[in-house]
Symmetry: C2
DNA sequence: TATGACATGTAACTAGTTACATGATTCA
DNA sequence: TGAATCATGTAACTAGTTACATGTCATA
């Protein structure tokens, strides 16, 4: 149930509409906590109904601007510091690595290499993002920088790990990874996200 | 829809019952792809109904042993190498960091420090796990080792990042992180998972 | 014989996704 | 005036969680 708290957190800075909040999810939060438009709008409605937000203004085109209430701020702070945090999110990539014994050695190293390339792209994208932001001393920026730094370190680590992993597979015995070989893959293997 | 593929992947090694598979989820996959008992059983039923698995044996206490069919193996391989992989899982921890501007500076560094301690525990636990396994050259072990190594590097990286992050907050200006101070927290802050 | 491990299943719920529907306002 | 953007909403679905219900078998 983190989406509701993400919304409360974003509204801590300043009032915003559902549309505004969607921009934030699509821009800065897409890789941390993606959300769909329908989810954001319905959650805002529920949040307002339960008194954690209020509709503080209505604008053109039916725009509703939401503002955090005291109860909402209290709930946000409670969640931030007192509620248990899940620090081991599901990882589809690692799950695939774990199960790679089911495909040929070539396909396995292919997947690992693809993970490395993806990490490479991430490194570049995060570097560019970092350069594009004028970092000021505001709270949101301070904590946003911490997250960006984490993402950069994660991407760099992933890159190194992937290289190491490919080496490991190439080094580990000459026996094929599989009894039955599946027919060769079509060239386009991993769509980009 | 990765759970179905996780089940197919585990059954690639050898036939197993729902109960057997639950042990694997609770042991080796708990931090990568947790699953509940009810989810595993109902997914196995669906998988068998759609022909990706068959009930290859029935044992005492109604035990049903499932075996991967050719169609199941094909689906598994397809998913592993051809289906798009989500490499940016939702991270509740990073979401909280991003929103930490809503609490006091002390509470923020408290949370960051807790993340560091958690990473510390992880490092120790993973080291112990590594030592406890007799690594042989089998596929599952080879790829399992890759995952374990990733987890170790991630934990070590998180530990260093957390220290750096706490320093950043302490260094960044003397102004309090917040307008209104929430009342001081009760001592037990983050339950252990 | 009773406890614990083995073993499966259902029901009700919450969270998240996809697709569709609708309409207002701005501005080139 | 037509396209892009702003803006909100609903319906149907899939995935995942929590809680409960039921019964068998081994062994201490």
């Amino acid at each position: 149930m983190s989406l509701r708290h993400a919304l409360l957190g974003l509204l801590h800075e300043q009032p915003a509409s559902g549309y505004d909040l969607m921009q934030v999810f699509n821009a800065s939060l897409q890789n941390i906590w993606p959300a769909t438009q329908s989810q954001v709008y319905s959650e805002l409605t529920k949040l307002a109904a339960s008194g954690l937000l209020t509709v503080s203004a209505e604008g053109p085109r039916g725009r509703k601007e939401y503002t955090l209430t005291d109860a909402g701020r209290a709930e946000l702070q409670h969640w931030l510091v007192e509620v248990e945090t899940d620090v081991h999110p599901r990882s589809e990539g690692l799950l695939k690595v774990f199960l790679l014994g089911a495909v040929s050695r070539e396909q396995a190293t292919g997947f690992l290499a693809w993970l490395g390339e993806t990490a490479d792209h991430d490194v570049a994208a995060l570097e560019a993002l970092d350069a594009s932001i004028e970092w000021e001393d505001e709270d949101l920026h301070v904590y946003g920088r911490l997250v960006l730094e984490f993402a950069k370190r994660l991407a760099a680590m992933s890159r190194e790990w992937s290289d190491w992993a490919v080496e490991q597979i190439n080094a580990s015995g000459g026996a094929p990874g599989q009894r039955e070989q599946p027919e060769p893959q079509q060239p386009e293997r991993q769509p980009r996200r």
